[in-house]
Symmetry: C2
Subunit: 164 residues, 2 copies
């Protein structure tokens, strides 16, 4: 019965008391790192493709739970980030999961516009690293050949989040 | 032509010079965090299920590339970790990808024994966090009902890696 509205501020996390509670229980007791963040794997619900790896702080996780839309914490901009607020590429949550020790999130989403990468590709993971025997100087292999959107048209002169 | 053997020590990463090089180029120039690590999403190649989120240091990434078997860096034990060395649940690399700014890895694998979680489940992400309207005290929902293996039988008295 998911009927009553819920606000991010209504959501409270449990204290972490025992390994059994964290691994085998039903209490949400996430562990954030020294920066107050946990990593979030976001996949396309329909295909299983990994779209991006983002980070959530407590507020982003609470808003994602409350709204059913993906929120992250932008490490490059150091702000709460409602994915799609600038680009329109909102991610609707199909399923939200947490891992055994509750320090990582798996988010299955449907994406308006079918793109999640600021470079313009569908997935951020558009290049393969060849493995196994062979000459390592083969270099990376592109696995998406065309961009889904034009980053300049969507983001304009917003600074590129990639840091060297 | 992936025929010549390659050793982890033969693999060298490129220096990060420009955003264009990192995002749009074919040079492998990974960015490790202040602990010398980058996160790695590992999925089952056949189903797209997210099995685990691990971390790699430079050595783990080089060994994964060279051997075609997943290597990680264990943060709890602070050692290089050939996945499956203890449990036998080796992860064979089907495809290795890197993201736009080269600070995250996506590893598609086949797993001997069909399990990747130290608690005994197939995936580490065996619990769902309900989202959207409703009473938050619903708690987590188990999405795997049976363990794939018995952790006690496989790991014996090896310390549990989960930290509170």
């Amino acid at each position: 019965m998911r009927t009553a509205p819920i606000m991010a501020e209504d959501i409270h996390f449990h204290a972490r008391r025992t390994i059994e509670q964290v691994e085998e229980g039903t209490e949400l007791a996430p562990k954030f790192d020294e920066h107050g963040l946990l990593p979030c794997v976001t996949t396309a619900a329909a295909t299983g493709e990994v779209l991006m790896l983002g980070y959530m702080n407590a507020e982003a996780l609470k808003r994602t739970i409350a709204t059913g839309e993906a929120h992250y914490f932008s490490r490059s901009r150091q702000v709460l980030w409602h994915k799609g607020a600038t680009s329109g590429l909102v991610q609707k949550v199909v399923e939200l999961r947490i891992d055994d020790d509750q320090d990582a999130i798996w988010l299955r989403v449907e994406v308006a516009g079918d793109a999640s990468c600021h470079v313009g590709y569908r997935s951020c993971f558009y290049r393969e690293i060849p493995t196994g025997p062979g000459d390592f100087e083969r270099g990376l292999l592109f696995r998406e050949s065309e961009k889904t959107f034009d980053p300049l048209a969507v983001y304009g002169d917003v600074p590129n989040p990639t840091k060297l």
